[in-house]
Amino acid sequence: MSSSIQSILHRYGSDRTRLLDVLWDVQDEFGYIPDDAVRELASGLNTTALDIRETASFYHFFRDRPSGRYTLYLSNTVIAKMKGFDAVSKALQAETGACFGGVDSTGTFGLEQTSCIGLSDQEPAMLVDKVVFTRLTPEKVVDIIARLRQGETPEQIANPGGLPPQALDYVDALVESNIHQAGPVFFDRGTRVREVLERWLGRNPDELILAATESRLRGRGGAGFSVGLKWRLCRESDADTRYVICNADEGEPGTFKDRVLLTRSPLQVFAGMTIAAHATAAREGIVYLRAEYFYLKAYLEAQLQLLRDEGLLGRDILGRGLDFDIRIQMGAGAYICGDESALIESCEGKRGTPRLKPPFPVYQGYLGKPTAVCNVETFATVTRVMELGASWFEGLGTKDSCGTRLLSISGDCARPGIYEIEWGVTLNHVLALVGARNARAVQLSGPSGECLSVEKDGHRKFCYSDLSCNGSMMIFDYSRDLLGVVRDFMQFFVDESCGICTPCRSGNEDLLRKIDLFMAGKARPSDIDDLQSWGRIIQRTSRCGLGGTSPKPILTTLGKFPELFEAADHPAHDTLLPSFDHVQAFSAYDRAHAALDKERS
């Protein structure tokens, strides 16, 4: 073990801040992260074994025990459950002989579930280690498992043509892009990256900031912060160096636009980062890529190399004196790392715990230096804005919401996939566009967004002041159990809460248990009051946006579909407290006796 650990440490200069990369390499080597390795890492990184575990145990793709030769992660998102998850999960257990959360008796297959892996347009989907399989059926599962047993690798099965992972064709062999409507900003024709960089890198950074400000471009990650202002604050912060980070931790269930942007337009994204670097005087850039997108890594690295070879990245870009390079930082499975300060912590090799603000990252970000963090879509937009001009961009969309928005459409509709819409169109317009005929509800912006009633909200417009969508749009028709959807979303937040603050850690579990009462028909009217008041407490007192939004599936569904919660007015049980199950309560006595008898004999 020793020599391989030493070479891994050497690869990253024994730098504690690169711990996530180190842990990935250790896991790739041993299949999990063994105690011996942790002890050796601790001494090599001048820290303790428990400190290494503190970081590793935060991320659900890091394993602390053997998990079979192959570990299969089946996506259990609510969309997957609408598209055949049950049959696929049964087939997986039957074929592998493993149960979820465990390994089969021969130690070949580890079986796990995971939240949305960014493939809601082609669910059910799973990861086999770092390779992805989409549109699963029980038959497909039988085939995949049989071939793995026969010694084929996941790569060989998913990519029968043997394409190199650096190639776009390889990515296309694994996943579809499903772009159903391209628009003026993305995908319609390639942005001429070289021309854009040639035009702007020679100019004064103030001009760049001015152009970004005049275009009134707002961050596409969800918060909608002015990009020009973010750059200016970052540039004006007093420091010897600065960083640009691209947030590609697309973890919001239902969204997959960043996956498609990185597949189809990576150069447009990287050029946007380079422009931001010139504007903010940054020397280094990081793309924080979620672990679920590991299959994009080799391809993206090849694209970065392409830029370097053409003199568009690296030292003295285009002879204009700008030094800027980009590296890819892999995540390891934590939704909370979509929060920019949690993402920065993760980049530094720590747990993805959101920082207290202030200070904001534009003042003190990565390694304590001013850092401009923007989303993938934002950087791609930046390049386009710089190509065609601020006034062109400002003319798109509405007066208050400029430009376009990429929507990731999934659920009950004829054509799930990517749609570029101009701000200002209505919900009904989009539903007709995607072929959603019998839609009852729409979950906009993922679980952290809001539940809409098609009947009540169909006329509402996509714009920052009304439906300010982060890109995820899940459609549910009249056959779906909306309360079950709410429960799924709450389970997601319980699983993904980092646990650092009381309201989010504790409160989300309480909300989940309350929803269970409603689903079991054991709720009473006061439980609705509890949902509202507890939800409000969690939203107001939590430390970051996760707790700030986690009660929204309940609160917004309650607002739009109060009838779902009406069962509480007619409790099924004729008792004072319907949630108290006296049969179950008294059975504890018998169970305890049985256990004692067993112990005595």
Partner: protein, 234 residues
Amino acid sequence: MIKLVIDGKPVEAEEGANLVEAAGENGVYIPTLCYLKGEPCIGTCRVCSVRVNGNVTAACSVTVDDGMEVDVDEPEVADMRRALVEALFAEGNHNCPSCEKSGRCELQAVGYETGMVVSRFPYRYPPRDRDVGARHLWLERDRCIFCQRCVEHIRDRTSGHKIFSINGRGSRARIEIDVELADQMPPEQVREAMDICPVGCILEKRVGFDVPMGQRKFEVQTHRERATEGTSNE
């Protein structure tokens, strides 16, 4: 000095002061659990939530500003603080009458101060393992409220390494102790670790119940009195 308004009353505070301290110096009590005077804010328990210029914020993370308007006693935000204390009681296993920290436990003291009677949240009775591996102290995890004071503030004096750390995420996370480093802790640091723990999770071995009831920390002087009369709450 700068001027701010707390509960409608104009007060003065030193520029750059922490809101918890500024309020205390003006006789306004803000309950706290993870906060330690003079140490960097860790902002985990949220029990000091107040309204600052209309928005609910953890007071420990706020630096006072000229013209700031703060509401502490306003009923809704006071209820939020009580709810968070209740949540902590429901989340772990807290049996005050049998706990050796009773009377010097900050969670208990803050429970009294916020007016908690019983938790509105269902008690969970979670199974939690205690850790008795270290020579001089042990962890009774039933009582841990995950404030992370020990993680942040207790370090090995030669290497600076953490003695206490976190394992896991979310509600499954728990505090771990580095036995090797813990066994090298000098007696006064063992005592410091026990004192810094706001509840009865970190306990010194062989010295249980050394202060008689009625003479314990918060029985002699309440949490509120300590915060508003300048006595340390640690």
